[in-house]
């Protein structure tokens, strides 16, 4: 992709590094976690050096993800406040998905779907972290009913979060010109004007 000096900066190097740290942790956690969830996925433990290693590593990776996600949460929290325009965007998300984005309300740096995803993921990570602590027998020993509840919550939220990440990654691939924002931080002006017009106006000062 040719980089144009007039491209707009969407993410700083620190923001990108933060995102990828979370992303790498998430992929490792999903692969090792699925292995403990369903026998069909158990062979994934081989990626970690076997079942015992997967069991040892998973919670430590979880702690790294929770910490790096917290930093990302603090960075982007204020940009993700829901507005009436976001709600309207969400109510018209079907039109967008079917390929017609002409009537979508004007969006700031993030659209309603991205904001909804941000809050859903924040809640998921919090729940996964707390329930994960319940299951971490190397360091914690809680009453069995708490552990059982933790196991159900951890598995259910993890499955939901994996599905959400599929949507998150797919959205980035589907909307062309998006992945580069997370790789080298810039987007084209046309991309910004089409998908996030309010943000485009804000950063360029143009209409």
């Amino acid at each position: 992709m040719i980089r144009n000096p007039k491209d707009l900066t969407r993410y700083t190097a620190h923001e990108r590094a933060n995102h990828w740290l979370v992303g790498i942790c998430f992929i490792l956690l999903a692969l090792s976690g699925l292995a403990f969830f369903h026998p069909a996925f158990f062979p994934l433990t081989q990626l970690f050096g076997g079942g015992v290693w997967a069991r040892i590593l998973h919670p430590y990776i979880g702690v790294i993800m929770a910490a790096s996600f917290l930093v990302m949460f603090l960075r982007f929290r204020s940009l993700n406040t829901m507005t009436p325009a976001d709600k309207e965007w969400l109510s018209r998300a079907g039109e967008m998905m079917s390929g017609d984005d002409h009537n979508m309300p004007e969006q700031g740096k993030y659209n309603g779907g991205q904001k909804a995803m941000f809050w859903a993921m924040s809640l998921s990570v919090l729940l996964l972290f707390v329930s994960g602590i319940f299951l971490w027998r190397a360091y914690f020993s809680l009453p069995v009913d708490v552990v059982r509840l933790g196991a159900v919550v951890h598995a259910a939220i993890a499955a939901i979060m994996i599905a959400m990440i599929f949507v998150h990654v797919y959205a980035a691939l589907w909307v062309r010109g998006t992945v580069r924002a997370m790789v080298y931080g810039t987007v084209t002006r046309a991309w910004a004007k089409q998908h996030h017009r309010a943000w485009y106006r804000q950063v360029t000062g143009k209409s």
Binding site: A40, G51, M97, L149, W174, K193
Partner: protein, 295 residues
């Protein structure tokens, strides 16, 4: 711990049939609490046969010694003092794995082949396949498995599966001086229990009965209790135990449902791309910006 077998009924985290061509008789151990004298010969025989020595602990002021099951103590006598009809009763229960017909440990276990249920009903841990996650502890309705602090593997009573495989009774049954621990086919043990219950009833224990809880499909370690209506008297033996609904949800219903849902989202995304095409930046906008630049 066990030998390679041809009589496996169930194998943890395995979705295809286990080797099961050999059918064996369902066995059971019957513990007659009413004739137990609390001598702990069963505990000694257990550690001797399995050749495991627990650390010597401290007296905590009661007869229970060791105070709880550990990765190295697979059976312990639990002593309860209760008052019934104005008389003291010393209820001594040998605690250990119940070898459930529907084992919660096996249901929860994520490691293929770490927990085996044999056709004879014995539920055995194969520590070489154990990953040390502790899900068996989460799944067990009787609070039996213990994770070793040394090797992070789960351990519990094997019902001497190695002895039973060669036609011997478990070490604890062999050594019991009063015959309070009996071993045989599950049918024989039920018949024997029925006789003991008639005897106990004739001696005034009109609620005497067999503890073979159906909530876990019955067990392969059963108790004769003087107060079968109140098993909790015996140091918290659960009344009507079953696999927790949370464990059933987690390792039953949720497993296929979540797997299908995740696959559906992934495939749905792919098909969306194929059918709707990518969301490209419009050529109009690009041209418009190029014109602006040219000015």
């Amino acid at each position: 711990m066990a030998l390679q077998s041809l009589d496996i009924a169930r194998r943890s985290a395995t979705t295809t049939p286990a080797p099961g061509v050999r059918q064996t008789t369902e066995v059971a151990k019957l513990i007659d609490v009413s004739t137990c004298i609390g001598c702990k010969a069963c505990q000694a025989a257990c550690m001797e046969w399995n050749d495991i020595r627990d650390e010597v602990g401290n007296c905590v002021g009661v007869y229970d010694n060791p105070a709880d099951l550990t990765a190295k103590s697979w059976t312990v006598m639990r002593f309860a003092e209760v008052e019934e009809k104005g008389k003291l009763e010393w209820l001594i229960r040998k605690d250990g794995c119940m070898h459930c017909a529907d084992p919660g440990c096996l249901k929860a276990c994520p490691a293929p082949g770490a927990i085996i249920q044999y056709a004879n009903g014995i539920v055995d841990f194969h520590q070489e396949n154990c990953i040390g996650c502790g899900y068996c502890v989460t799944g067990c309705p009787f609070n039996i498995p213990r994770i070793s602090q040394e090797d992070s593997k789960a351990y519990k009573c094997t019902l001497c599966s190695d002895r039973v495989a060669v036609g011997q009774a478990p070490a604890c049954a062999k050594v019991c001086p009063t015959g309070a621990i009996q071993f045989g086919s599950k049918e024989q043990m039920k018949d024997y229990a029925a006789k003991r219950i008639v005897d106990l009833k004739s001696r005034g224990y009109d609620k005497a009965g067999l503890y073979d809880p159906q909530g876990v499909g019955g067990t392969h370690v059963m108790y004769v209790l003087h107060h079968a209506d109140r098993p909790e008297l015996y140091k918290g033996l659960p009344n009507d135990p079953s696999i927790s609904p949370l464990v059933s949800l987690w390792k039953g219903f949720a497993k296929p449902l979540a797997s299908v849902a995740m696959a559906a989202v992934a495939l749905g995304s792919l098909f969306h791309y194929v059918m709707k095409g990518p969301n490209e930046v419009s050529k109009e906008l690009e041209d418009e910006l190029e014109k602006e630049d040219a000015k």
